[in-house]
């Protein structure tokens, strides 16, 4: 079923692109290859968003799998009122929120992921053109930003990530979270302010040469 036929059924008024529409139609027919393409298309954004929301790689992978399974199961209910990407974001956000609540009840903060104990990941040089000092600085900056993000309330963190990392507009974020656009703007301002407060004084600006 293509985008034109979907629209004839009153669905998919707004779809991101023809490719997405075709893919969506094939997935709704139960084509596993089409679903594999859909996962491959969106897995980077889902994995990164989940990782930044929960702060744990393995949790993020698990969460991303759950998210795609939920996408597959609820694909029949997708009405196309928002883009597929926004809809997937919404699923990831809901799952992440539930997972964090689950771990909060089980005192996740007192445990430590295995990867934090293994220095092998940090020892990898991902970019050979980058000097070891720059790589170390970048990793440290990333770790501090990630830690500061995790200290923000979940809703603020989600909005900030969708805006800054995923470049979504406030309207799209509002759709993803199911809140009003004004709420998104106010929470975004609070999130930026909170992040600035967390990181003020932490970074030492290098003197200009």
């Amino acid at each position: 079923m293509g985008a034109r036929e979907l629209a004839a059924f009153g669905r998919a008024e707004i779809l991101e692109s023809g490719a997405d529409a075709g893919l969506l139609g094939a997935c709704q027919k139960g084509d596993p290859q089409a679903f594999a393409r859909l996962v491959a298309l969106h897995e980077r954004m889902v994995l990164d968003l989940a990782f930044r929301l929960v702060g744990d790689r393995e949790e993020a992978k698990d969460l991303a799998q759950d998210a795609f399974l939920q996408v597959y199961k609820t694909l029949g209910r997708f009405e196309g009122r928002s883009s597929l990407k926004t809809w997937i974001y919404r699923i990831v956000l809901n799952l992440s929120r539930n997972r964090l609540r689950f771990w909060k009840r089980r005192h996740r903060a007192q445990s430590c992921p295995l990867e934090a104990l293994a220095p092998a990941e940090e020892a990898k040089v991902s970019n050979r053109t980058e000097s070891p000092f720059d790589a170390c600085s970048r990793q440290e900056l990333g770790a501090r930003v990630q830690a500061a993000l995790l200290r923000l309330p979940f809703e603020q963190r989600a909005i900030l990530l969708l805006r800054e990392a995923e470049d979504l507009s406030c309207a799209e974020i509002a759709t993803s979270l199911g809140v009003r656009e004004g709420t998104v703007k106010s929470r975004l301002a609070r999130a930026r302010d909170g992040l600035r407060r967390e990181l003020t004084g932490v970074f030492v600006k290098e003197p200009a040469e």
Binding site: D48, F51, K61, A165, L199
Partner: protein
């Protein structure tokens, strides 16, 4: 502009969503205020740092498809090879409950419903009367005609023949036989140890036999 307003507006300034006049006032404030300058630098680094956050390596396509296959697969042949208990897991509790219910009904009926039993039971062991004194003589039988006779004999509690009648057969020819049979004396039939009257039904066959002619 005070510092709080400037620090709230610097993010919008990064997005170029402020008017040029407001931007100029913020720039002027930042040039004079090292504290706000530090805050703007921190925010800039943090927002840039969000873009540089580490990524999760690897693909999850195969994992998702494997989980999808497992979660959408039906029970398949496992349905056919289940044990009896797996096929009907509730059979044991159901049977136990049904047994308990049945036992309760039977017990309650036993205690509540007690019908008046007849003083004399319908079914009882009846002792068959036996011949005590045979009244038939061979000469009586010799006078009988050839044939079959079906006879009912009523034997009284005293062991005497109270009544005799032919139900089928040649009654006239069987008269001497019946007269002889009526002289029989019986040990009477007993029910619960008491002598009672009963009917006996007998089929008597008589064949004349002649010696071969010499």
């Amino acid at each position: 502009m005070n510092c709080d307003a400037v620090l709230l507006a610097v993010a919008d300034r990064r997005e170029r969503s402020l008017s040029s006049g407001l931007e100029a006032r913020i720039d002027a404030h930042l040039a004079e205020c090292p504290s706000c300058q530090e805050g703007e630098d921190a925010l800039g680094l943090a927002l840039d740092g969000i873009h540089d956050l580490p990524h999760v390596e690897g693909s999850i396509v195969s994992e998702v498809l494997a989980r999808l296959e497992v979660e959408t697969r039906g029970p398949g042949l496992r349905l056919l090879f289940r044990s009896g208990f797996d096929q009907r897991p509730l059979i044991a509790p159901c049977l136990l409950g049904a047994s308990a219910l049945l036992a309760a009904i039977v017990l309650s009926l036993t205690f509540v419903w007690r019908p008046a039993l007849p003083s004399v039971p319908v079914l009882a062991w009846l002792d068959i009367p036996t011949v005590r004194e045979r009244g038939v003589a061979p000469s009586d039988l010799g006078q009988a005609h050839e044939g079959n006779v079906f006879i009912e004999t009523v034997i009284g509690p005293d062991g005497r023949v109270a009544r005799m009648r032919v139900l089928a057969g040649n009654g006239e020819g069987a008269r001497p036989l019946m007269a002889a049979l009526s002289r029989d004396r019986y040990d009477p039939a007993t029910l619960r140890g008491r002598p009672v009257a009963v009917s006996l039904f007998r089929l008597v066959s008589h064949v004349d036999v002649f010696p071969p002619e010499s």
